[in-house]
């Protein structure tokens, strides 16, 4: 139960971060991606703030192997760069550039009742489902 409350709190904090940063407004994200237009560099600072804080966490507590609320600390095991990673990231980049939503802000915006987010998330779930059907993989 404690672990669920903790995950709920982390999700709420994540949501607050996204909306304060402006990432839940597709127009702001698209303005960051529009280098040749009226460019809005804000997203660079969002990344700096996030990586600054989380990078510091890694520096000081990166060797932790047991979580505070029990259980092992999850560690992504893959390290190499492969075609699957690059193709996936490239397709996501095109999707991001078309809509200005990435998964976090899109899911959060469901709570705000955004019609655009509903259409986007339904399609995102379909894309995920299709990927699992056409690209069978034991681990990603």
């Amino acid at each position: 139960m404690k672990a669920l409350l903790s995950a709920f709190g982390a999700g709420a904090l994540f949501s607050a971060g996204l909306s304060v940063a402006g990432m839940t407004r597709p127009s702001k994200v698209l303005a960051f991606l529009d280098l040749a237009g009226a460019w809005d560099p804000s997203l660079m600072l969002v990344m700096c703030g996030a990586i600054g804080v989380h990078g510091l966490y890694w520096l000081f507590d990166g060797k932790r192997d047991r979580a505070l609320l029990g259980g092992a600390v999850e560690r992504p095991s893959k390290t190499g760069v492969d075609k699957r990673l690059l193709l996936g990231a490239a397709l996501f980049g095109v999707g991001w550039g078309l809509g200005g939503y990435c998964p976090g802000p899109a899911v959060a915006s469901l709570g705000a009742g955004s019609r655009d987010a509903v259409v986007f998330v339904l399609a995102m779930l379909a894309g995920l489902w299709v990927c699992d059907r056409v690209v069978p993989a034991p681990e990603r």
Binding site: A7, F8, A10, G11, A12, L13, F14, S15, A16, G17, L18, A21, G22, M23, K28, A31, L33, D34, L35, G37, W39, D40, V46, I51, V53, H54, G55, G62, R64, R66, A67, V73, E74, P76, V81, L87, G88, A90, L91, F92, G93, G95, W96, G97, L98, G99, C102, P103, A106, A108, G111, S114, V119, F120, A123, L125, A126, L128, V130, C131
Partner: protein, 146 residues
């Protein structure tokens, strides 16, 4: 270069909150705050992956947004009149691509770069580059409204 709409302080503050959330989830729950992975693992039929914490995280994400939208709807403003097919195509590519590439802006961009993962650096460089290219083509070559 023509810079407009730059909001450095909210951007840094919001980013710091994202970093705090990712650190909290990792320290307390031992989990990585990658949203595409959390969504995928929360779905029925996602194998043996534990689903409860993912559901709780997503509930926090959605409910906090609902509360913030009640205070300030402008935080979630969307461009007027975007066609459904554009959002659908965008979502489809995002779902397929993040599943194939094992992460999105949060999992690779925030969590992966914070622990200096070469995979995440390659993924982040790639989706940013394609994001720039897509907006350039849509706005300045094809002249679309995206």
């Amino acid at each position: 270069m023509n810079v407009q709409g730059f909001t450095p302080l909210p951007a840094l503050l919001g980013g710091a909150l994202l970093g705090l959330s990712a650190s909290w989830l990792l320290a307390a729950n031992g989990r990585v705050a990658g949203i595409s992975g959390i969504v995928a693992g929360a779905l029925p039929g996602s194998g043996g992956a534990p689903r409860a914490w993912r559901g709780a995280f997503l509930a926090g994400l959605v409910l906090m947004a609902a509360a913030l939208a009640a205070l300030s709807p402008a935080l979630f403003a969307t461009p007027e009149g975007r066609p459904w097919w554009l959002l659908g195509l965008s979502g489809l590519l995002t779902g397929f691509g993040t599943r194939l590439g094992g992460g999105c802006t949060s999992g690779h961009g925030v969590c992966g770069l914070s622990r200096r993962s070469p995979r995440s650096l390659a993924a982040t460089g790639t989706f940013m580059a394609l994001g720039f290219l897509t907006v350039y083509l849509a706005r300045h070559v094809l002249g679309g409204a995206s």
